[in-house]
Symmetry: C3
Subunit: 457 residues, 3 copies
């Protein structure tokens, strides 16, 4: 007991020390390097318009980050405080730090060093980066300590901005909705971290690695918020004129993946639906159409992305998830590879196909000039998309392995996986654990049946 308290204290000091150092560093960096974007001058007529246009999307994306991702992960029955609470914490950290890492590489690209001009676009990019971190969080969910999450966030964002710099600023791929840069990156980074960091034995078949009726409803609520606001995610930084296409394409794709999730879930579960599929694979359309959301893929193209994304994603959750855990020992708690990873790859490939088609068909929407505005690498753009996908996967997996190794060498994993009681004060009674195990088993299983049995009367 004494020893345990001692250890708790040590973890505690590590967390405090790192967080305080981080926040002091942020104070200094923001003090020296950040300023308001002076082009939003109070005398300029265009200010309001910008507030309108970007603020709207900023809030929408924030809802996705904090409510959407946060509550989607509340599905674990005894890890809800942690899922939503750490989302709060690491998103705040990620937002502050990503503005720094993004700005560093952006200025490196332009070779124009100077004060960062904070505006809503910069802040939307900060939220996008936080999304990538939260996706990775989904892979390690329940197995890491807050200190580890802080360290992971720190390193992940360096790799994230590096990937953005190489694959998108230098190589000039296009990826308006971040299928590659956000979703595939976050998923494969997280899966790599968890593969290096956690042993399957610790957590496989852990009894708390599951949902309860109430936790599943919170998770579904998170999922639905993600679904509704996904068009904003894909359209936020699209060019005027292409923005409405991003909205229409994303919406159509999402309705298609929603239907596909129900169909494939029903196939694999003999006529029943699995809530895991419905919470997750319904969203795959938003990922799969991401890289080509603002392109002229036509409604039927958007449908096809959604159907492909929903199919592959549900297949992953329903069929491959258990196989992958069993064979490769990879335990991806939220299945982020199936929601963000595979559909993200589909999204990258779809963008390549869409651009190749646009090139060949010379779509009436895109005259020669518009084509080159849209596709900075012109006729090479389709191949460039593939290159960026490969780069992204490489940096994500490599960065994840490095980060996982750093964590493994310097920190300890959570002692009580999938259990809030290690790091949270729980309501009275909830952390006096382990007293009457045997009686409890009975009570519990009885409780689960309490309502169900009624319809047999």
């Amino acid at each position: 007991m004494e020893k345990e308290k001692q250890q708790q204290k040590q973890k505690h000091y590590g967390f405090l020390l790192l967080t305080i150092i981080f926040e002091v560093a942020m104070l200094v960096i923001y003090g020296l390097w950040m300023d308001y974007d002076t082009s939003y001058n109070q005398d300029s007529g265009e200010t309001d318009e910008r507030v309108d246009l970007f603020y709207y999307f900023f809030i929408d994306v924030a809802i996705m980050i904090f409510v959407g991702f946060g509550f989607l992960m509340v599905f674990l029955k005894r890890y809800g405080y942690s899922s939503a609470g750490y989302t709060y914490f690491i998103s705040a950290v990620a937002f502050q730090w990503a503005i720094v890492t993004n700005s560093f590489f952006a200025q490196a690209n332009d070779s124009s060093w100077g004060k960062v001009a904070l505006n809503l676009e910069v802040m939307i990019e900060g939220l996008y980066a936080a999304a990538a971190v939260l996706i990775s969080f989904g892979a390690v969910l329940g197995k890491t300590t807050p200190t580890q999450l802080l360290i992971m966030t720190f390193f992940e964002l360096i790799f994230y901005s590096l990937n953005y710099y190489i694959g998108f600023l230098k190589v000039q791929a296009v990826d308006i909705g971040g299928s590659m840069i956000i979703h595939a990156f976050g998923a494969f980074f997280g899966v790599s971290v968890t593969t290096v960091l956690t042993s399957r034995k610790e957590t496989k078949d852990h009894k708390l690695n599951g949902s309860s009726y109430t936790s599943d409803l919170f998770s579904l609520l998170g999922s639905i918020f993600l679904w509704i606001f996904w068009p904003s995610f894909n359209a936020a930084l699209a060019e005027p004129g292409a923005q409405y296409r991003a909205v229409i394409n994303t919406t159509l794709s999402l309705t298609a993946s929603c239907l596909m999730a129900f169909v494939v879930s029903s196939i694999f579960h003999h006529g029943k639906f699995d809530m895991v599929d419905i919470q997750n694979a319904t969203l795959a359309g938003g990922v799969a159409v991401g890289s080509s959301a603002d392109l002229v893929i036509n409604p039927v193209g958007a449908f096809s992305c959604g159907l492909a994304g929903g199919f592959v994603s549900t297949l992953g959750f329903s069929y491959f998830a258990s196989k992958i855990t069993k064979i490769f020992g990879i335990q991806d708690t939220c299945g982020v590879q199936f929601l963000h990873g595979w559909p993200g790859i589909i999204g990258g490939i779809a963008s390549s196909i869409a651009i190749a088609r646009a090139k060949n068909h010379r779509d009436p929407y895109l005259d020669e000039k518009a084509f080159h505005d849209f596709f900075p690498r012109g006729d090479d753009q389709p191949q460039i998309q593939f290159a960026a996908l490969v780069i992204t996967l490489g940096i994500a997996i490599g960065g994840g392995i490095i980060t996982g190794a750093i964590l493994r060498l310097t920190t300890k994993n959570a002692k009580k996986p999938f259990d809030d009681s290690e790091y949270w004060i729980l309501p009275t009674g909830e952390n006096e654990i382990g007293k009457k195990e045997m009686e409890m088993k009975k009570i519990e299983s009885e409780k689960f049946e309490k309502d169900g049995e009624k319809d047999l009367d």
Copy 2:
């Protein structure tokens, strides 16, 4: 056991077959018939503005559909997966299909056949149609299978668009917030379906037809989201200049119906409040002011709509609901007739009165020209509103009876009413039903009292 599995499989094949056929049909129809609205050209300066204006309302209405209606129906204690999950499913189906049916009748009206130009207005109309289907879903909630919901959605939207065509495109009634076309239509269609389809004996007094403490809180959350965004529902497609009136009128009306719900609930429950009233009747003001939301009804007119809607709605839930079930054998699970049906009729009548007043008083806001712009049938508009109300009720009830009959002849109702376990994989323990019924009853009733008893100490 074997036989049961066999039946599950059959239902399963039916659901899969119909959903896949539907989705293939959508692929073909969208492929051949749908295109982007080319007036949103990327070179046009007006694009942004349109994205701004309508996208904002589009998202607001989507929140109402998926979070609002979806979670409002989570009040059933063991049907939350189904309530929110099927909302996801049938709204996606309804959205895709309504764009087709709406476009068909719109082009029939204009006699100008050609590609459908997808834009945000078309998509908002798609969400409106999904709202009507969800309202009907509320009436049959807990009693139908996913296959039946799919079939109901398919037929309902044909009748919905037909009613829109006759009552609003041809007869030219005005109904900006859809009191008649959406709310009254959806409610009476759903009540008709359930009257034909389900026998009272099956479901009356079913033990799972009730709420739990947690399910009621989710439902209240859904209700509050509906309440907040209702001004957007009524204002989304209003003309510039009338839009702000729609917002103000709807807000005032909603605050009035909120107060009225508390008052009437307290009267009928001897000084207590019934959560059913608070979840539902608080919203009646949004329905009751819908048809006249953009008109110059003055703040006091908006108040009156809200008070009338809130009064009638709470009266319905608190007093008439049980009577109607008992006498007529109609079991409307969510009481949609009291939230959407009766207040919808009030809304239609209110619009007629408001237009007659505007005509007689020649409101300063409406000069002769504006009056005729607003009221396409000029001095006949008040009577036209009544005509549209009667047409709507006729098509809703007739269409509901036909659809109910089709469902009755071709499908089987849910075997386990109000019970997720028939179609959902539940968390461990939750579908091993019926083992220890007697003990369970005790445990359960004890559990409910667990916190309450404390204040007697």
Copy 3:
């Protein structure tokens, strides 16, 4: 039993009588005194823009009021119906009544009596006033009857508008995000009411004065919605050009208070986090930066406000809360003094410092003219901010004592503190209280441990 029913009836008549009188009065006042803002004429091109600009913020603030504050207070395990339900009720009352009290003092200030022109700014001001009332509600949460809440709302808004009139219209302090006028006012008014009205003995250590696992998740959801939309709260009525600064400053401040809440919570709870801190103190940055949100405080200034607010707030919840209850007998259920009171005072002081700095440094953003536009009292503005803070605290505490005394003399407090069953119909079984107390204690404590024990297997 009979006597109890009799009393229930009496409370019932009081509530009905007062609510009906209030609503009739509103009908008359709105009928005679309220009209649409005719500057939103349907022919004016500027209408749309205004609907755009303000409607967006109006909805955002409404989400904060009804979802944010409402569900933040659902943390009490057996008072969720009341917390969210009364929020619905008193916010509707407050909105209607605040438009009246605000308009009265605004016209008194202009000495221009006439019809009130309802528009979205007036309505946003109405929501702001409702926020102040909800903050006070947080202090008395669980201890008052609906009748008392209605009376408190009525008087509080008179004092609220009076304070706005004196401190902001006459004395001309600036307070864009309402740190003083909304947050500090609401907090100290509520604390004063509860100090006069409720005796500590009644409610201290009450067994229902605590959270459950599920209630805490609902509360965290409310908290997160408040956090996301707080930039809108602080920016809604800011001038074009200053609005984007209010958004950026508030966002940065909130991320800082979020981190600080985790740090200080961990310090006081030996390496664990307390959900109370995370639900509340994370938001303190929004309050602390409120009065200076639209000023040129620079990113580092925003950070500092957030860190200070988060620090003081978590210190309050983690350390001072129990001390204050013990020593002074003040029981502030939600700890509103720590979330809104103290950070509100910090906000007022910060605005004074920020303005003094702007004056001395002649910030490039503010030329002489702009400085005087921004700060109506010119070089005296820093002192004026202090004066307004003192006036606000005086009126809040004085008004709260008067209102508490009125309530104490005319009404009775809730008989069953923190218990929904006094005023709500609960799901079957939930109000049959007190039958098997002893067995229940056992069942209950066992239930809490049901999941936790699993990881010891």
